[in-house]
């Protein structure tokens, strides 16, 4: 029953943020950052099992593991970028949040280049 814990934590954190925002906006931002990090840490353990199952399925299907690794990397990168961008946006810095998201997009594109190349090569090999 992790969800009860998470909901309770979120409510308590929201209350604390509301109390602090008037006097100390920076402390309120820290509280919301910590709440987000704790919630992510609580859930992230569950992800291990899911990733393991996906890896086993890929091995069973005989898919090249480097592709799966790239995919997982992109998912992790997207989670991290989302987290950072959301914290910045909460603190009123939409500009920095947009830059973080842009950087994440660039890095994801670079990570995806080998897969794009592989797709292109397989298409080219089909053409007589």
């Amino acid at each position: 029953m992790d969800i009860i814990q998470i909901v309770g934590l979120g409510l308590v954190a929201t209350l604390l943020v509301l109390v602090l925002r008037e006097q100390r906006p920076e402390m309120a931002m820290m509280v919301s950052l910590v709440a987000g990090a704790i919630i992510l840490l609580l859930v992230v353990d569950r992800l291990v099992a899911a990733v393991q199952v996906i890896t086993e399925m890929a091995v069973g299907a005989g898919i090249n593991l480097t592709y799966l690794q790239t995919l997982l990397r992109i998912v992790g990168l997207a989670y991290l970028a989302e987290f950072g961008a959301q914290v910045c946006r909460d603190a009123g810095e939409g500009n920095i949040a947009a830059r973080i998201e842009f950087a994440a997009k660039v890095i994801i594109l670079v990570l995806a280049v080998p897969i794009i190349v592989a797709v292109m090569e397989s298409i080219l090999s089909l053409i007589p």
Binding site: L16, L33, V34, A37, L41, V44, L72, R73, L77
Partner: protein
């Protein structure tokens, strides 16, 4: 969970001390107190964030 209450407590404590120092006409010290509080909380938050980053890094084997 502990950390959350710790940070909120530090925030309330510092704002109370800030009011007292402002009443006593000690603006610079109030400013310093605010700065020290922010640094203190930042150090605490940094550990949690690094823990989160390392766990995500190991799960998705990023870099």
């Amino acid at each position: 969970m502990d950390l959350l209450f710790k940070i909120a407590g530090i925030g309330i404590f510092i704002s109370v001390l800030n009011i007292v120092l402002k009443q006593a006409e000690k603006q610079e010290q109030a400013q310093m107190l605010t700065l020290v509080g922010v640094v203190l909380v930042l150090l605490m938050v940094l550990q949690l964030i690094s823990e989160l980053f390392t766990s995500i890094k190991t799960i998705f084997n990023l870099f």
